[in-house]
């Protein structure tokens, strides 16, 4: 397995490639992705918080926009926590697609906003259970924005957040059912 981080140097942000690689390697090992090549291609030109993923049988490509790894208190500086979370998010999404019962999930660009939210909740819940510090309320808010503001929606959020093993069919059905109840 090889793990590569690009670029080597940065024009717009004060990020460190070796530091990012150390965090990514640690996360890959923790998530059992040490048997596949991984490319981390940071898009430093963009301040957005997006993380683009591409998965083949032999290579996982994670392309975070620089905002996803940034310290929001100190613009353009790298945040260890946000880098860790971004690596975990990207790798969990890739692992779901490769080995986790998500083979039938639409491409990331084709996911509806509620579908993206339910999958993000599943991912972030697992990250929280790895004892990585994150603000759960932010993810509740995101789930509510996509499914509605009600106690029933919050109950579904809790269910997904605390799930360790789900398939795409299960998650997408939960999301669709929640939307039909709140409609």
């Amino acid at each position: 397995m090889t793990l590569t981080v690009t670029p080597d140097t940065y024009n717009f942000v004060a990020f460190d490639t070796a530091y990012t690689a150390r965090i990514a390697e640690h996360m890959a090992t923790q998530l059992g992705l040490d048997d596949i090549d991984i490319l981390i291609a940071i898009n430093e030109n963009s301040a957005l918080t997006r993380i683009d993923i591409d998965v083949t049988d032999s290579l996982i490509t994670i392309a975070p926009h620089s905002g996803a790894m940034e310290d929001t208190r100190r613009p353009r500086q790298q945040s260890e926590l946000n880098t860790t979370i971004t690596m975990a998010r990207g790798m969990l999404r890739a692992r779901d697609r490769l080995r986790g019962g998500f083979a039938d999930a639409p491409a990331d660009t084709e996911l509806s906003l509620p579908q993206a939210a339910v999958w993000d909740t599943y991912i972030m819940g697992r990250i929280a259970h790895m004892d990585i510090e994150l603000n759960k309320q932010a993810w509740i808010y995101n789930f509510r924005n996509r499914h509605g503001f009600s106690d029933a929606v919050d109950a579904v959020f809790e269910q997904v957040w605390n799930t360790a093993n789900a398939t795409w069919a299960e998650l997408s059905a939960l999301s669709a059912n929640t939307l039909s109840v709140t409609a």
């Binding site: 030109n45 208190r73 503001f149």
Partner: protein
């Protein structure tokens, strides 16, 4: 107690990290959607944006620190000028009422930030709002704070209220609506006092309106506010009119917003081109 406090001396605890507008504009990264995506999305802050939750959270934090600075600005106006000679008592009374409103807005924004999942100081605090409140002429301060800053607040609160409405978020919609009503009053106070104080001094009025134009352009934050769909929020023309802005003034602010957007885009193109060489 010290008068005319500079922006560097604003009291904050260790949770806050302050940046200037120059720091913000020095960032050469693109924060707008790529050209290929523009056909299907705009940059308007609506729930339809994929990053809507994060963007709304960041804006709410911006509102929170903006309310703190507006409170500080209105409070300083009560203190910095001599009653009667430099500023009428009734003007100071209005500023005291405004300070009370802003303090309430700080509390509301803080609770909304909790609700949306962010913490105090999670984002850098841009001190540009207070900088507009540092003028040593109370009329310029009214133009900068009550008309430019509070005018910006009308645009931002309209966006956030609509965001809450579209997302079905009852708290956001309700709270923004109530704060928004206060902002219209604050702008109205500024408009009324500006006319009253400069009634027989056209030169001073001209200077104040010029200053307002400069501040309005600064508050367009490199094109975040304009009539273009490329901007995060629009100019809330109807509510601005209720607050005392004329149609011509709103058109002028819209032009300044477009100018700021185009200048920022040109600046970013230059920086990105320089980086790729």
């Amino acid at each position: 107690m010290k008068k005319f406090m500079p922006v560097e001396e604003l009291a904050r605890d260790e949770r806050f990290n302050q940046i200037t507008q120059a720091d913000r504009m020095a960032d050469g990264r693109v924060a707008l959607l790529a050209d290929s995506e523009k056909s299907r999305r705009s940059n308007r802050l609506t729930p339809a944006r994929p990053d809507a939750s994060e963007a709304a959270r960041a804006l709410m934090h911006g509102i929170f620190v903006g309310e703190i600075q507006a409170l500080e600005g209105a409070g300083r106006t009560c203190w910095d000028f001599t009653t009667g000679e430099e500023a009428p008592f009734e003007l100071k009374l209005d500023m005291a009422r405004q300070a009370w409103d802003e303090a309430r807005h700080v509390e509301i924004s803080l609770k909304l930030s909790d609700w949306m999942g962010s913490e105090i100081g999670q984002y850098a605090e841009n001190t540009v709002l207070f900088q507009a409140a540092c003028s040593n002429d109370p009329v310029l301060r009214l133009a900068g704070v009550n008309r430019a800053l509070e005018g910006l607040a009308i645009d931002v609160f309209t966006t956030m209220k609509e965001f809450g409405e579209l997302a079905g978020d009852p708290y956001l919609e309700f709270c923004e609506d109530w704060m928004f009503a206060d902002e219209v009053t604050h702008v109205k106070m500024g408009s009324d006092w500006l006319r009253k104080i400069t009634e027989n001094d056209p030169e001073r009025r001209k200077k104040a309106l010029e200053f307002q134009g400069i501040v309005d352009k600064m508050f367009s934050y490199g094109g975040s506010r304009s009539d273009s769909e490329e901007s995060s929020f629009a100019i809330a023309r109807r509510f601005r009119e209720l607050a005392g802005f004329t149609e011509d003034e709103n058109d002028h602010i819209a032009d300044l917003g477009m100018q700021a957007l185009n200048e920022r885009k040109a600046q970013l193109r230059e920086k990105q081109a320089a980086a790729s060489n």
